[in-house]
Amino acid sequence: GESVGLHLPTLSVQEGDNSIINCAYSNSASDYFIWYKQESGKGPQFIIDIRSNMDKRQGQRVTVLLNKTVKHLSLQIAATQPGDSAVYFCAEKARGYNQGGKLIFGQGTELSVKP
């Protein structure tokens, strides 16, 4: 079946540095990916998404890169701030009939920002 995995469960960066959070997926036919941020005590919040017909997509201070050759996805956060401290999840849309937009989530990476 499909699976999504993150390379590192934790990541610590200095305030002002750029952060890179990585994710690998198993299904080469996957066509949609999404990143979520979950702050302590809250539900996950949408950050950015990308379709497989794109290699890169940019948002406000965030960039998602998709490398379909090696089935790898990354989230880059520019000028990381203390408010970026959270757990970050990547997810892919499940393939197949009758999946109702089901998302398959990775295990999450906890980002800590040092002042």
Partner: protein
């Protein structure tokens, strides 16, 4: 703004009790989801619903059931709670606009079964 609310933030129940977790959304979305979240395992899908009275099993449906009698409300039921169901439970609703499959999440219910 989409609002997804869950009936309780924290819940403590005893083994064998029947437990109801309620989720309500205010945006008339057809699709709703129940996940559980455990450390190191990410979010795992328990059940989802396409529309009223429709439901589909997710990846870990054992020990759970669901009910969707009204479009805005999706209930997760633990028929006989067990300690291994101690977890964070998250409800989500799906909006499909412009090719996005974004799901909106509620704040979660932390359930402890003793």
């Amino acid at each position: 703004d989409v609002k997804v609310t869950q009936s309780s933030r924290y819940l403590v129940k005893r083994t064998g009790e029947k437990v109801f977790l309620e989720c309500v959304q205010d945006m008339d979305h057809e699709n709703m989801f129940w996940y559980r979240q455990d450390p190191g395992l990410g979010l795992r899908l328990i059940y989802f619903s396409y529309d009223v009275k429709m439901k589909e099993k997710g990846d870990i449906p054992e020990g759970y059931s669901v009910s969707r009698e009204k479009k805005e409300r999706f209930s997760l039921i633990l028929e006989s709670a067990s300690t291994n169901q101690t977890s964070m439970y998250l409800c989500a609703t799906r909006v499909f606009t412009g090719g996005s499959y974004e799901q909106y999440f509620g704040p979660g219910t932390r359930l402890t079964v003793t």
